[in-house]
Each structure stands twice: as structure tokens, then as C-alpha cells.
């Protein structure tokens, strides 16, 4: 039904709106990529340098004989000489980690979604998930070895048990913390059932879910290294096995060099993969204050 009464002049409304829009759009101060990378990087470099300095200082005091506590230079020499072996070992370990983490992500997501949406499941399983999360993964190994013998299966079992609860909990927290207004908006738009879950609930829970994945990765990596130390599979050379072998030969340089590789791989995946995904999502969702001014 078209109206006949005049309203305010359309051109005037347009002009007022575009004027207000120009004044009101928040202006974010964004620095160049290089500047941001550098401001992120230099404190880390300084910290690493300080750590190496303290390490070297302890070695210089002669607190322990050099064959037990070698200095950074000797360790990095060892690392350089064994780069091939360490790279193969790191590759095998990473492959196991990805398999275990992938499986944990699938299981954790299904359980998390179920617990968050089904009341009976929440009452029954909800608190058990947190309980599982606090259980040290190394406590699972005796059972895992009985069930799966000294095999890949035993390691995978423990890695999945270590990571899945964190991932499930991340999703549950994410869903629980969705602003009710967004759910109402979804219902008003006609989102029901699967469509509501896929198009509204899951994306709204994404920031916390990624947090859960990040934590799940940390648990998976820890459980895996513990597993590789306990469950030695001679056919596959891994970081855990390398650590164990070096220790048995009283090769302190090898032990520390392997530890550095474990640390660096963990940091790279945690910071670069999950950290940057986390930041990208938060920026997209407007959860980071970028010094916006209106």
C-alpha cells in the first residue's frame, strides 16, 4: 500500500546520512605489517638472548662438569650436526601429533556440541569432561599399554584422551557464552535446528572454540612426548626416542639439542598457527581494541 503523504525530502535524508556516516565510522589506527612484526619480534629476541646469556653464565661458574651441562655453543653445534636425524624424528612426531589432534578435534567437537545442546548429556557428562581434563595424561599409559601393547595405538589413545576434553570444553564454553540477543536474532530470522547450529551457534562460539583447540594442541603435544618416552617403537624414529637414546648414552648435548627442537616446534605451532588464527578471529569479530576513535 503506497503512501501519498509527502515525507522529508529524500535527497536531504541521503545527504544527512552520508555526512553522519563519514563522521561516525570508527577510524582504526593500523600500523604497517613490518612495524607490527618488528614490535612483536624484538622483545622475544631479547628474551631469548638473555636466556642464552644466563645459561652460558651458569656453565662458566663450573657448577657441573661440561659433559653434564654443556654451553649453548656446543649444544647448537650438536644440533647442527644432527639436523638430518632430528628433522626426521621431528617429522614423525609431528605426524603422530597431527593424527592424534585431528581425531581429538573430531571427537571433542561432537561431544562438546552434544553436551552444550542436550540437557541430559550436560548433566551426565559435563562435569566428567572437566575431570578428565585435570587427569595427568601419563596416568593413562599403564592402561594404554595393557590395551594396545607397545604400539602407535597406545600413543594415539593417550593423545586423544589428553586433547579431546579441552576441545570439548572450549566448544561448550563458547556456546554457553553466546549473547542471548544473537540467538534471539537468529530465531527472528528463522534459523532453526541444524541451520541454527551451523549458521548462528557454531560461528558465534568460534573464538572460544579456537581457544579450546589451542589448549587441546598443548595437551596433545605433552601427552605425545610422554608417550614417546614410555612407548618405544624401534621402527619409527621420534623426538621422544631421540631424547631417551641420548639420555641413555649420557649425551647431554644431544638431550638439550632435542629439547630445543621440541620447544621450538611447540612454540611455532602454538604461536604461529593457533595464536595468529586466534588473533585473526578476534579482530574479525571486533573483540580486539585497535585504538579505534570515532
Amino acid at each position: 500500500m503506497a503512501r501519498t503523504e509527502p515525507t522529508a525530502d529524500a535527497a536531504r535524508i541521503d545527504a544527512s546520512l552520508s555526512g553522519l556516516d563519514a563522521l561516525e565510522v570508527p577510524v582504526a589506527r593500523r600500523r604497517s605489517l613490518g612495524a607490527r612484526l618488528w614490535s612483536n619480534l624484538w622483545p622475544k629476541l631479547v628474551a631469548a638472548g638473555l636466556f642464552l646469556l644466563i645459561w652460558q653464565a651458569v656453565v662458566w661458574t663450573g657448577w657441573k662438569p661440561n659433559y653434564l651441562l654443556p654451553g649453548p655453543v656446543q649444544v647448537f653445534e650438536n644440533l647442527g650436526n644432527n639436523l638430518d636425524t632430528l628433522a626426521t624424528a621431528a617429522g614423525n612426531t609431528l605426524w603422530r601429533a597431527l593424527q592424534g589432534f585431528g581425531l581429538a578435534a573430531v571427537i571433542g567437537t561432537v561431544i562438546g556440541a552434544g553436551v552444550a545442546r542436550v540437557r541430559v548429556l550436560r548433566a551426565g557428562v559435563g562435569s566428567m569432561i572437566t575431570g578428565l581434563q585435570t587427569m595427568p595424561s601419563i596416568a593413562w599409559f599403564p592402561l594404554a599399554i595393557l590395551l594396545f601393547k607397545l604400539s602407535e595405538g597406545a600413543i594415539l589413545f593417550v593423545v586423544v584422551l589428553g586433547a579431546a576434553p579441552s576441545i570439548a570444553n572450549g566448544l561448550i564454553n563458547g556456546i554457553d557464552n553466546i549473547p542471548p540477543l544473537l540467538l534471539r536474532a537468529g530465531r527472528v530470522l528463522g534459523a532453526r535446528g541444524i541451520a541454527a547450529f551451523r549458521l548462528v551457534i557454531l560461528p558465534a562460539a568460534l573464538p572460544a572454540f579456537v581457544g579450546g583447540l589451542k589448549q587441546g594442541w598443548a595437551f596433545a603435544w605433552r601427552s605425545l612426548l610422554a608417550g614417546e618416552l614410555l612407548v618405544l617403537i624401534s621402527s619409527k624414529y621420534s623426538l621422544g626416542q631421540q631424547l631417551e637414546t641420548s639420555s641413555q648414552f649420557a649425551d647431554a648435548r644431544g638431550v638439550i639439542a632435542t629439547m630445543i627442537v621440541i620447544f621450538v616446534v611447540g612454540v611455532i605451532i602454538d604461536a604461529l598457527l593457533f595464536g595468529s588464527a586466534d588473533r585473526a578471529i578476534r579482530r574479525r569479530y571486533g573483540l580486539i581494541d585497535e585504538g579505534a576513535t570515532t
Binding site: 500500500m1 503506497a2 503512501r3 503523504e5 509527502p6 515525507t7 522529508a8 525530502d9 529524500a10 536531504r12 535524508i13 541521503d14 544527512s16 546520512l17 552520508s18 553522519l20 556516516d21 561516525e24 565510522v25 570508527p26 582504526a28 540477543l181 544473537l182 534471539r184 536474532a185 530465531r187 527472528v188 530470522l189 528463522g190 534459523a191 541451520a195 549458521l199 548462528v200 560461528p203 558465534a204 568460534l206 574479525r284 569479530y285 571486533g286 570515532t294
Partner: protein, 274 residues
């Protein structure tokens, strides 16, 4: 949701009129609320949110609901939007509704255009048609250049306009607005009044607009309906016979607004005495 009729889950005490065939629920009304009550809680400590409300919104009519706190304005809109059912009485809606809130409630993971496209997707529109339609809807609220922005990159007024475009994407017959401009500054609100009035005129939708701002109600409405508080019930109705375009600061608007404000204040004082 076409021709939806919302009645209490149990048998209604009052038989509601059967809508005649054709458009509307009778008498050209798009929304007909008949003796609708809403009670929360059980009999022991029941809260009467709405008490025997009678209200109609005709096709293309702009109705403003005015009331002090606790008048059940939002409850009433929920009933019309189909998010809730009346405890007694009936709410008949001929056609489709969409509800806008005081906050835009845009999905932060989608761009402005993405928010509109999601509404089209949930409405069942084919993927290839969505983009062009979303652009047209954003153009209608003068935001075609901001389709790629995310909600947090827009101002409060712009977010409300995206929410308006998203609501219009549902091909609504009745637009329900729950204090949509309550959180905006006066100047933006002023311009958005013009904008909503223009879109209302262009599209011919019926509007049920809830506000606690008397001047806003007089500025926009064909009719202003006043609700009492606790329980909410219709206590007065004011036809607004001021020609459009109106200005919120014109003497005619101010005079009628002053009248209505006096009555509203009496209603509020009635609650304070005891």
C-alpha cells in the same frame, strides 16, 4: 509464518474470531490482538505482564506503542513475532513479521552484506540471487558502500540501518521495532526517523514501534497507543493528525506530546502512592 495465529497452548477461554479469506485477519488488519494476556510463573507467584490487550495494526499503518517501564512492551512484541504464546486470548498475524531490537544484534562474524545475505539464505533464496538482493537492500538504507564492513567497524546508527535492511530481507508485512533508536544520539535518531518514515512509505509495510520517548512516538506514528504498567494493558489511544513530513521539534508535535506525557505521568504516579 503466513497467516499465523498464536493462541495459548491450552484451550483458549475466549474463542477468537475466525479470519475471513484473503489478505488480513479481518477489517484490513495485519495484526489483531484480541484480549491477549500473558502471565509468567505459576498461580502462587504469578506475574501479570499483559492483561487483556486489544490492538490492531492495519496494512501499511504505523502504530507506536508507548509506556513506562514494566508495561510489557517487549512481551507484546514477542507475542506478535511468534517467539512466545499468550496465556489467554489470541494474537493473529496475517503475513510475515520481523523484530528489531534496541541493539542491532548483527552477527559479528559476517560483514554488513553477509548479515543481510544470511537473512535471505534462511528465507530460502537461491545463492546466486542473494548478493544482488543484499546490495539493493543496503542501498535502500543508504549503505551500499559499506557492505564489506564488519559490524564493529560501523557506528551505532549504521548498525541499526543494517539491521533494518536485514529485517526487510525477510519480505515482511509487519515490522516490529523494540526501541530501535533508544541507544542513539539525538542527531542520528532524528535522521533515522526520516529514513524509517521514507522506507515505510516506499515499502508499504505495517510498523509496530515500541518506544518510551513520547515525541518520537508522535513524530512517527499514525496512532499512538498508551500502555499502563504492571500489568500492561491499553489505557488510551491517540490518533496523530499531524501532516507529514513532521519534525520532532515542531509545535504541533510538541503540543500533542505534552498532552500524552501528562497522561503518562499520571499513570506512573498511580504506582508510587502506595
Amino acid at each position: 509464518m503466513i497467516g499465523a495465529s498464536r493462541r495459548p497452548a491450552a484451550a483458549a477461554p475466549t474463542p477468537a474470531p475466525v479470519p475471513p479469506p484473503g489478505i488480513g485477519v479481518g477489517g484490513g488488519a495485519l495484526v489483531r490482538i484480541t484480549e491477549a494476556s500473558k502471565v509468567y510463573g505459576d498461580t502462587a507467584n504469578a506475574v501479570h505482564a499483559l492483561d487483556r490487550i486489544n490492538l490492531e495494526v492495519g496494512a501499511g499503518e504505523f502504530v507506536c506503542l508507548l509506556g513506562a517501564s514494566g508495561c510489557g512492551k517487549s512481551t507484546l512484541l514477542n507475542l506478535v513475532a511468534g517467539l512466545d504464546r499468550p496465556t489467554a486470548g489470541s494474537v493473529d498475524v496475517a503475513g510475515r513479521t520481523s523484530l528489531m531490537f534496541q541493539e542491532a544484534a548483527l552477527f559479528p562474524w559476517l560483514t554488513a552484506a553477509g548479515n543481510v545475505e544470511l537473512a535471505l539464505q534462511l528465507d530460502g533464496m537461491a545463492r546466486r540471487k542473494r548478493r544482488a538482493r543484499a546490495r539493493a537492500l543496503l542501498a535502500m538504507v543508504n549503505l551500499e558502500e559499506f557492505g564489506r564492513k564488519r559490524p564493529h567497524e560501523l557506528s551505532g546508527g549504521m548498525r541499526q540501518r543494517v539491521a533494518l535492511a536485514r529485517a526487510l530481507a525477510q519480505q515482511v508485512d509487519v515490522l516490529l521495532m523494540d526501541e530501535p533508536f533508544g541507544a542513539l544520539d539525538a542527531m542520528t535518531r532524528d535522521v533515522l526517523h526520516d529514513e524509517v518514515e521514507r522506507i515505510w512509505r516506499e515499502t508499504g509495510v505495517g510498523v509496530l514501534f515500541v518506544t518510551h520517548n513520547v515525541r518520537e512516538a508522535v513524530r512517527l506514528g499514525d496512532r499512538v497507543v498508551m500502555l499502563s504498567s504492571r500489568p500492561g494493558t491499553v489505557i488510551a489511544e491517540f490518533p496523530v493528525d499531524i501532516s507529514r513530513p513532521r519534525r520532532i521539534d515542531s509545535p504541533e508535535v510538541a503540543t500533542l506530546a505534552a498532552d500524552i506525557t501528562d497522561q503518562l505521568r499520571e499513570e506512573v504516579m498511580r504506582h508510587g502512592a502506595h
